[in-house]
Amino acid sequence: MDNIIVIENIVKRFGDHTAVDGLSLDIGRGEIFGFLGPNGAGKTTTVRLMTTLANLDEGRIVIDGHDISKDPIKAKRCLGLIQQNVSLDKELTVYENMMHHAMFQKIPKAERRKRIEELIEYVELDRYRDYMVNSLSGGWKKRVAIVCSLLHNPKILFLDEPTVGLDIDARRKLWDLIKKMNKDGTTVFLTTHYIEEAEAICDRVGIIDNGRLIALDSPKELRNRIGRMAVEYYGEDGKTEYRYFPGRQEANDFATNLGNDYTVIVRRTNLEDCFVEITGKKVGGLR
């Protein structure tokens, strides 16, 4: 698999604080890549650097063969971005927002309407086309933002915490949409707080903490690193402890030996266990 994104030793500082600290990473063409990290780990800053919304202090980012510092216009042609907070013009209608995006992307006039109609159908937006964006619910706004970022058929789609604020139904629909886009050839770079989101849709996951990449692998391999089975137990003090084991037998033996003073759950390890083990923090905050 060739790499559509190459990140080499990038650094971004805000005053004395180093938000991204020597990060290097390659993303393969056609991959769905998940970027996990606690609050303030540097996820959004990394996305802003990759999408040219922030300037690099050091290092290099190459998007589909184009160095973003030397050739930003060509690099920008390849990418679409969906931000955590929907970035639409709320004083225009859905259709006007889409048309404006199509113009930004310099889609030829003859193709604009056709492309907009295709995408309106793709995400079932037809009845909302003439609504002011301000009047839509969060889920529909997010859909509009997604179709706007897809108008020019980007090779890479960056999604920064795309499902924050969405209900479970809207979140799952969005996952389906991301998988569908990926099947149609779009590489996806996703930052998220939701561990199950990364497990459900990502081919590979990177964990970032204090601006540094501290783990990188498929969700399955990351889980296997700490052991396939987890024992979660707590006693009268209410403090939950975790232990990880390579197989079910070892986990069961440990649970049995704990005796009756503890409430015990034996289960498969998940990505959250890996995250906590690796970073020492819960996703979204301190442990």
Binding site: L53, K76, R77, S87, L88, E96, M103, F104, K106
Partner: protein, 249 residues
């Protein structure tokens, strides 16, 4: 060149749609203050005053037109751009698109220029009834368009510098308000001490008032002021390009 013009059109398209959705509101809002100035200073305070051998009303109408070009162009560009950049974050969509910085900056001025021209046209038409001395000349039209572009570019500067609505308000209080009253819109600059005059020539509205007044009253045209205003246009444009390149969050 064609590519740049296309980009300007693409960037301004959304703002012009916004203007269409809010046309009546926008027009009424941009006419309130010039009409108030006209009534207060033209009729209320000085109905029989003469300034530079002219009825005062004829003297201040070109000044009020210059002032309207400042207020309407600056505020409509700065307010909408500030909201798009800091609150809707829709400006980010422009920044991740394959548009040139010049296309973005000039495109963002269009709303201010259109609003400034609409507002000034209305005042000029009203002015023709109140002061028949006024003349519509090609030089006046050119000066007005240059003024609207210059102040709209200043609006882009303010929006790019602003970190909140608060900073925008501070910019208006510290830069726009002093210009409104001091830059020769309501009185001839020659009435002031030389040092004060020299300071006020450092502001674009002084030159805008001067060229619009000369062009509409048939006075000797101050070409140096036209050149100075063009200089402000270029300076604001270059500052905006620099800010777009460097003021990324």
């Amino acid at each position: 060149m064609m590519n740049l013009l296309r980009e300007i059109y693409y960037v301004s398209w959304g703002d012009l749609k916004f203007l269409r959705h809010n046309a009546i509101n926008v027009l009424i809002m941009s006419l309130v203050s010039p009409i108030l100035y006209l009534v207060t200073f033209g009729y209320g305070l000085a109905p029989n005053m003469v300034e530079s051998d002219l009825p005062y009303i004829a003297f201040i109408i070109p000044g009020i037109i210059a002032l309207s070009s400042l207020n309407a162009s600056f505020s409509s560009t700065a307010t909408r751009f500030n909201v798009q950049r800091l609150y809707y974050r829709s400006f980010d969509n422009m920044m991740v698109s394959p548009l040139s910085n010049a296309g973005i900056v000039l495109g963002k001025t269009t709303l201010g220029v259109v609003r400034g021209l609409l507002s000034c046209t209305f005042i000029f038409i009203l002015g023709l009834f109140l002061a028949p001395q006024l003349m519509l000349t090609p030089l006046f039209v050119f000066s007005l368009i240059l003024s609207c572009y210059t102040f709209s570019l200043l609006g882009v500067t303010a929006a790019l510098l602003a970190k909140s609505h608060q900073t925008m308000a501070a910019f208006s209080s510290l830069v726009i308000l002093p210009m409104t009253f001091l830059c020769g819109t309501f009185f001839a600059l020659e009435n002031l001490p030389p040092l004060m005059q020299a300071i006020l020539y450092g502001f674009p509205l002084t030159h805008s008032s001067s060229i619009l007044r000369a062009a509409s009253l048939g006075w000797e045209f101050p070409w140096l002021s036209l050149l100075a205003l063009a200089g402000f246009f270029v300076a604001f444009f270059l500052v905006d390009i620099h800010l777009i390149k460097t003021r990324k969050i």
